[in-house]
């Protein structure tokens, strides 16, 4: 398998891109040495972020990269789009809040699936979410 030194960048235009992004994330997680459960957590988090881009803000980009913060290794997932942005971030982070008839589980779920979670969003400009998970 190719060494995952370079970041992976997956553009999200359609629903198959969601599958590609999460498979790429799983490959990186596996190669870095994440266990089975964390591989599933990382892939699921990517699926949620990619799906949000697809549903609300396409096109956008998912970037997956290895982080090595003074020996603290992990994976950083970035989801970036130039879509409509999220008006009320606090509301969007609530369990059950959805504007699309979904479960409203995606964003709060990603926060719990990963170790760190940052979200920046500006109305009319877009959204950038970064989530990180570290090897233990």
């Amino acid at each position: 398998m190719m060494m995952k030194n370079a970041p992976s960048r997956v553009e999200i235009h359609n629903e198959w891109d969601i599958v590609r992004a999460r498979q790429s994330g799983r490959d990186y997680a596996k190669e870095l040495g994440f266990g089975n459960v964390d591989q599933a957590r990382i892939a699921t988090a990517i699926s949620e972020l990619a799906r949000n881009i697809y549903l609300y803000a396409k096109p956008g980009v998912i970037t997956i990269e290895v982080i090595d913060d003074q020996g603290k290794k992990g994976l950083a997932i970035t989801a970036k789009d130039d879509g409509p942005g999220i008006n009320d971030l606090r509301q969007a982070m609530e369990d059950g809040y959805t504007t699309s008839g979904g479960l409203g589980a995606g964003l709060p779920g990603v926060k719990r699936l990963m170790d760190e979670f940052d979200i920046l969003s500006e109305a009319g400009k877009g959204t950038k979410i970064t989530a990180r998970k570290y090897l233990r």
Binding site: E15, R22, V37, A40, T44, E48, L103, A105, L113
Partner: protein
Amino acid sequence: MRIPILKLYNYLLTTIQVELDDQTAIQFQDDLLKKIHETGALGVVIDLTSVEIIDSYIAKILGDVVNMSELLGAKVVLTGIRPAVALTLVDLGIGLKGVPTALDLEQGLEKLRQELGE
């Protein structure tokens, strides 16, 4: 991509062996409901042993399948959910509450037989 649905006596059995993309999941929902309607099946086992990921979108479809099947008169049991998948569902805050589950196909069928009093 279509997921095959087998009929066995009063039951329908289906094993999801592919990566569940959105289209496949929606098609499966349609096919299963049609098949329940056509056959008058009383029970359905959906085996998820090969499924490595269930995100909130797929979880919603599965939950909808369970509810709609019950409206059509068929009980659904989900089997073979991997521990890693169960844990991610908990993180997502989705317990698939009230949905009957079992370890494998065989136990799923047994559960249906008990619930249906056969």
